[in-house]
């Protein structure tokens, strides 16, 4: 079952990371496997800190055995390795017993610490496990070269391990999970083909609104705003759809909420994100969207931020300013 060709299979199926970054999974595996090392780590990220995404929770609740199986495959494929599952504090409480039973004697440990959104970023996760400040590290070195405790480290999301299990069992059909939240009838997590357009996903799940609406696609904070005429395309980033009723949503307030969220969750390390988000928040609180300054701050965030979080901040604001005013 644990065939040697798992990496080839991942490559053939074109599986990409499901945490949002969309990096080819097989490349990471190969990098960690091939580098010289006396010890390697595998980290399963179940920190799920973005608002309105509950996909990892759904998978841990319904398919924990698949996740553990995926991890065991990784342990086999990557020599001299041990694994850690990083759970946010709530998931840890909820799934600890179940997971421990499934892990049994395998070299997999559970790890949890309170904290938020930034843990989606790989090197932040490593810093937290090592007891360091919860913030991204300078890259390079990449975790695949020097990760946890300086050892090559493979970091994949819960969903990725789920699909690895499916691929190993030849049960993978190019599906992914979608988290649908907001003003919809059937909130929840759904497994559907990754080729589905946003419209199809909403229709298939009985969630296509019959009122004037807009969406935030890809995450409840960092996702892009989309309007009904843009829905004939599949989701590129994180599989999350948040539905807003256009009539009773104040876009300024929505944006102010994001700014609050990011100023709380960012690590303050780099100039554009620390100072830029502060200036966004300041402008939005005053209801001023002095266009030029805001545009410039968003540009600096997108182009010069230290980590993916900062880079992603411009997406919701930019799309909201374009489409909601």
């Amino acid at each position: 079952m644990f065939d040697k060709g798992i990496i080839a299979k991942l490559k053939q199926k074109g599986l990409t990371g499901r945490g949002g970054a969309g990096f080819p999974t097989w490349q990471k595996w190969e990098a960690v496997k091939n580098i010289q090392a006396d010890k390697r780590y595998i980290v399963c990220n179940a920190s799920e800190g973005e608002p309105f995404i509950l996909k990892d929770k759904y998978i841990l609740e319904n398919y924990p055995e698949e996740v553990i199986y995926g991890l065991k495959i990784a342990l086999k494929a990557i020599p001299k390795s041990e694994a850690i599952i990083y759970l946010n504090e709530f998931y840890y409480q909820q799934f600890k017993n179940k997971l421990e039973k499934l892990i049994a004697a395998s070299p997999i440990t559970l790890f949890s610490k309170p904290g938020g959104y930034l843990k989606g970023e790989e090197t932040t996760l490593l810093n937290i496990i090592e007891g360091e400040k919860a913030e991204p590290r300078v890259k390079p070195p990449y975790p695949t070269e020097k990760g946890l405790w300086g050892k090559p480290t493979l970091i994949n999301n819960v969903e990725t391990f789920y699909w690895i299990s499916k691929i190993a069992k030849n049960e993978y059909q190019g599906h992914r999970f979608y988290s649908i939240e907001g003003e919809v009838k059937n909130r929840g997590v759904f497994e559907l083909p990754e080729t589905y357009t946003i419209k199809q996903i909403l229709e298939q799940t009985g969630n296509y609104p019959n009122f004037s609406f807009f969406l935030q696609v890809g995450g409840g904070a960092s996702g892009a705003i989309m309007t009904p005429n843009e829905l004939d395309q599949p989701i590129k980033g994180a599989g999350a759809i948040l539905v807003f009723n256009k009539q009773n949503t104040d876009p300024l307030q929505l944006m102010a909420g994001w700014a609050e969220f990011f100023i709380r969750e960012n690590c303050d390390q780099c100039t554009p994100c620390r100072e830029g988000v502060y200036r966004l928040k300041e402008a939005l609180a005053k209801g001023e969207i002095k266009k030029e300054a805001i545009d410039e701050v968003l540009l600096a965030l997108e182009k010069t931020s230290f980590c993916p979080l900062g880079k992603s901040i411009s997406t919701p604001f930019k799309t909201a300013l374009q489409k909601l005013f």
């Binding site: 300078v138 390079p140 830029g276």
Partner: protein
Amino acid sequence: MKKINITIDGKKIIADEGQTILEVAAENGIQIPSLCYHPDLSVKANCRICIVSVKGLTSPQTACSTKVQKGMEITTESPEIAKLRKINLELIFSQHKEECADCVWNFNCQLLELSKKYKLQITRFSDRKSGFPIYNFGPALQFDSSKCIDCRNCVEVCHKQQVGHLQIVSKNNLQEIIPNDKNPCIFCGQCIIHCPAGAFEGVGEFEEIETPLADKNKVVVFQFAPAIRTTIGEEFNLPPGEDLTGQIVAGLKQLGANYVFDVSCGADFTTLEEATESLERIRKNENLPLFSSCCPAWVRFIEVYYPQLIPHLTTARSPHVILGSILKSYWATKYQIDPVNLVVVSIMPCVAKKYEITRDELRIHPTESIAANAPTLFGEADRIPPVDYVLTTRELAKLFKKHKIDLTKIDPTPADDPFGNYSGAGVIYGASGGVMESALRTAFSLVSGGQKIQIEFQEVRGQKGLKTAQVDLNGKKIKVAVANGLENAVKIIQGLNKEYKDYACIEVMACPGGCIGGGGQPLPTNASVRKARAEGLYKIDEKKELKMAHENPALKKVHEEFLTTEEIKQKICHTYYSAKNN
């Protein structure tokens, strides 16, 4: 090292694999603006000013953290890069209170230069940090947190110094650098040297000196440290390492100094005491290894963090304090100057020295001026400090500039007799290893009974953080170690029961490279600057005929006329230490 071909701004360059874009560019004369990068420290890549474009990549890359790769095509200036740098700089200025006229960078500041280059609207955003507190770190430094641009260099360097007085906290969801009083500051001033925003400065205003200078009743004596003669030129656009000994004297005279002496002479006094003490301890095998004590930041580090090691410190006073003590006793008596009207000003590479002169342990009794058998005319409370003011190299440069004294134009003058005489050993005190070398020269000479002895101790020279040597002292093998930067000192401390167990003498300087890298020195300070400054000092020693501290005629004379009993020597040349918790 593998060589690779890259291009920067169209220029073909052969680079070493493993270098960063910033390093390669600098080596090839291409300036990429940078703020948070300091070659002494880890790459933090947080200011996001050094961004450049790399062909094939959509987002700009930070030059300080991106390593060159084969075939890389890099563009360092373009309209897009300029625009992004401008925005980030404006954001940085929005958290930096400008006080350029009163800044350690003396208008030699990256921020200011960049604000001109990119035509910033520096008031585009309101000052986020106006009203942020100014913290005093004892009688040594001041931290104006409203100037901070959050690069974290000071936090890193303070940690490297094994102190951790500076810390990052989160207030209202924003990071803030604040002092942590649980880990008292040792006043090394390395935060000053590593802050791109000039948020730290020594305490006091350099203009204070003008008051005693203008007072007819005061006799003002300036004495200047070994380490400033090859650094102060940098403030006048000379390269580091240029010897300006005579120019400094001339400049001080122009300012109105009544006398100018050389702390290198004080160093000779310190050396003799320290060498004698170490020979004594080696003979008795007592409190070994002996620790040097001329760096007040190191002394304070021991008193606060390792008080159990206090007995290891030599009790010899530091060079400017020993000379100040002799000035206010022996010399004042000789010249019939009331010590109370004698104002001693030390020009130092250092902010810890500002603290040092406030140490109660160093005060002397004016009656000591009339030697040991004088009647006691004064009470304990009348004890006076051996040194009244400490100005840093930077502050002296400001003072000179204010008085239109240009060190590049002035004719050199020799320092005054008798304490303008110094040995080459006294001059190298300013570089890491210098104290040890000076002490070895004297110790060897004292035990050799007149034979020709080794003068140069190459093993203890140089910019390495931790240096060791084994020397043969009249048939006895003696191990010595030299540390600069407290991370290296702590390595020795931790090895005292292991690899450093049988060491006899340890020299420690808190600053990287020793005092030539001190917290009062011109900016920028980095490894190559420190190297050039130290080489300048060794060149002076090379040329100097008088090589040994104890052969300094001024010292000999004071020993014959004044330091004749153990009691008076203890009072004038030695001090004591005690555990401190703040």
